[in-house]
């Protein structure tokens, strides 16, 4: 590993429009240039069409070579476990799982090793690994390729969990995740890869644990992740036409979680709608509600409402799939319910 560490001077905040996938790619590239310990591994991340089935690792093998951009066999448990071992031994792996659903194969090293090593070892090790994967439905990939499993990881102390919804957040959070001394489960969303947005050039880490208000509003607070942020923004337009002003907050990371921003919003609006594509039962929506209830029960003028994935495996058929997922009109209806 003879590449020099390239010192990056924070670039002038030139902003370009990039896709979510391009923004992630830029984060990986810049971090790999900055720190020779960073490397990428996963299935089809190097050779396949020039970098990953969604293009996130495009061009990396050309720039950094096959040692640092490693195609792996189909061995999800080992991908995770090797990444953990390499991290403990001083490398900074970014391990990719092609679909979050496949992380069922890798829960042991993520949960019993990565998450616990620092604590179990009395604070004398760190595990700077990023587990990247994409979640979400909407493309007819059916039950084994469409799940959103963030709640599993949020449940486990020792892991951090990021869920960017925009290209700028994707880049800024991935930079932070790679620099973090802790294991980060970095969950992208397949539907978002081709969405575009402004992304500042250069060194633009977004700290973990800082929510982003994507739309200010007075009448109700929506908290949601990934596609639900965009659906909520669409719902807000519909609601605005009716004179209802929806505030849309994207926590961006679920662990750590910026409860303060959300509580402040709820204290302002008195109403809360929470949304995610993941199965409703034991999803993060319940946790967000439980935390807000504890912190601001008095401020709530109506019971919070969840707009979540149905408790059903994701079906293939388009109509059924749409019915299984929370939609813009479900958000509108939920907001109607809380402001009623």
């Amino acid at each position: 590993m003879s590449r020099p560490v390239i010192e990056t001077t924070p670039a002038p905040a030139a902003t370009r429009v990039l896709t979510y996938a391009e923004a992630l790619n830029e984060a990986l590239r810049e971090e790999m240039r900055r720190d020779p310990r960073v490397f990428v591994m996963g299935e089809d991340v190097a050779v396949w069409g020039g970098g990953g089935v969604f293009g996130v690792t495009r061009g990396l093998v050309e720039e950094f070579g096959p040692q640092r951009v490693r195609d792996t066999p189909i061995s999800e448990e080992a991908i995770a476990a090797l990444a953990v071992g390499a991290a403990v031994a001083g490398a900074r792996p970014v391990a990719e799982f092609m679909y979050a659903d496949f992380m069922g194969l890798a829960m042991e090293p993520i949960v019993n090793q990565a998450a616990k090593i620092r604590y179990m070892f009395g604070g004398k090790a760190s595990v700077p690994v990023v587990f990247r994967a994409q979640e979400g439905a909407g493309r007819g990939n059916a039950a084994q390729h469409s799940q959103s499993l963030e709640a599993w990881f949020c449940h486990i102390p020792g892991l951090k969990v990021a869920v960017p919804s925009t290209p700028a957040d994707a880049k800024g959070l991935l930079v932070s995740a790679i620099r973090d001394e802790n294991p980060v489960v970095f969950l992208e969303h397949k539907i978002l890869y081709n969405t575009k947005g402004p992304v500042p050039a250069g060194d633009v880490a977004i700290p973990m644990g800082v929510a982003d208000c994507k739309r200010a509003g007075r009448d109700a607070t929506f908290v949601g992740v990934h596609t639900m942020v965009h659906k909520a923004l669409a719902a807000a337009e519909i609601l605005a036409a009716e004179g209802i002003d929806l505030e849309v907050i994207d926590p961006r990371t679920l662990v750590p979680f910026d409860l303060d921003t959300i509580v402040a919003s709820v204290r302002k609006t008195g109403r809360l709608v929470v949304g995610h594509e993941a199965y409703e039962r034991c999803g993060i929506g319940a946790e967000i509600i439980a935390q807000v209830i504890t912190a601001a029960f008095d401020a709530l003028d109506a019971p919070p409402v969840r707009v979540c994935g149905e408790n059903v495996p994701i079906p293939y058929n388009a109509r059924l799939e749409a019915a299984a997922l929370p939609q813009v009109e479900d958000i509108v209806a939920a907001v109607h319910q809380v402001v009623a």
Binding site: T72, I74, A142, H145, N317
Partner: protein, 312 residues
């Protein structure tokens, strides 16, 4: 224990195998069309080029035997007797489909027919097949389970765990690795640590063999031996079928990881052409044989015939 080895198949069976190979090819060509015209969702993984594997292997089964399949499952399903109408309806997500539109290409199953499902998880069928074999053993039946998986699945831990269990419990399961040279962009010879994956059977103490996966009769004979062994209670085997997928992994595959010359070379071994040619040659051989037999069995002319037929 006495095993029934690969028996000669009847002309009807052979004809039906050829028909199924054509059926698989046309089914998947049409699925590709449907996908490209936007009638399908998700992804579809064509079995084209590999028809000999599913058909040769399933020819060794009885109706009560079972199979588990993969993401590239249409061929297995048709070969085990799946109904193309219910399959096609499933691809289009219809209520009449095998899964009522809930599964799509990657989850087609027909448990009644012994098809325990395509699977979206690479290696996902391996444990299921081994468990189905366990169920047969527990029920005191001699049903066998065929477990299809790709070269890419060779490096999933579940194969190791299942193979060890199948070996120590002598389960009636046959592991069929369809080595079609690639797992998406990953070349089998680079991502699997041994050039001939059948040697991995040595790690479990059961037989591992390979066969020409472009030759339906070679597949049939090899799998039939393994099935006979399993049925006789002698335990599992690994059969590696060397084959090739003609198309990309799925629609949209950039196919930058292999060159056209390679594809063309494999196409010269086309399993349908070959079986058809063999069948035709065999039919001719049969006619010739019949002619010879007829000739040999025929009487010498009687001496009386010497002067006959000089004039009308």
């Amino acid at each position: 224990m006495a095993r029934k080895l690969a028996v000669a198949l009847s002309p009807d069976q052979l004809q039906s195998m050829l028909r199924t190979m054509h059926m698989i090819r046309q089914f998947d060509l049409r699925a590709l069309d449907l996908y490209r015209e936007g009638a399908m969702r998700g992804s579809t993984h064509p079995y084209i080029g590999m028809e000999a594997v599913a058909v040769g292997a399933c020819a060794a089964l009885r109706p009560a035997d079972r199979i588990t399949s993969t993401h590239r499952g249409h061929g297995h399903c048709l070969a085990k007797g799946g109904d193309p109408r219910l399959m096609m309806a499933e691809l289009l997500g219809k209520a009449t489909g095998y899964c009522k539109g809930k599964g799509g290409s990657m989850h087609i199953a027909d448990v009644e027919a012994g098809i325990l499902g395509a699977n979206g998880i690479v290696g996902g069928g391996i444990g299921l097949a081994t468990g189905a074999a366990l169920a047969a053993q527990l029920a005191g039946r001699d049903d066998v389970t065929l477990c299809f998986f790709g070269d890419g699945a060779l490096n999933q831990g579940i194969l190791h765990e299942s193979a060890n269990l199948a070996a120590i419990w002598k389960l009636p399961v046959v592991y069929i690795c369809e080595n079609n040279q690639y797992a998406m962009s990953a070349r089998a010879d680079k991502f699997t640590s041994v050039p001939d994956p059948e040697v991995r059977a040595k790690a479990y103490g059961f037989p591992g063999v390979s066969c020409d996966g472009m030759d339906v009769m070679a597949v049939y004979r090899t799998v039939a031996d393994a099935v006979a062994r399993a049925r006789a209670g002698e335990g599992p085997s690994l059969v590696v079928c060397v084959t090739y997928r003609y198309f990309g992994h799925h629609v949209g595959d950039p196919l930058n990881y292999r060159d056209k010359a390679e594809v063309d070379a494999w196409k010269t071994k086309d399993p349908i052409d070959r079986f058809q040619a063999d069948r035709l040659a065999a039919a001719v051989t049969q006619e010739i044989d019949a002619a010879v037999a007829f000739a040999k069995a025929s009487p010498e002319p009687e001496v009386e015939a010497l002067m006959e037929d000089v004039y009308a």
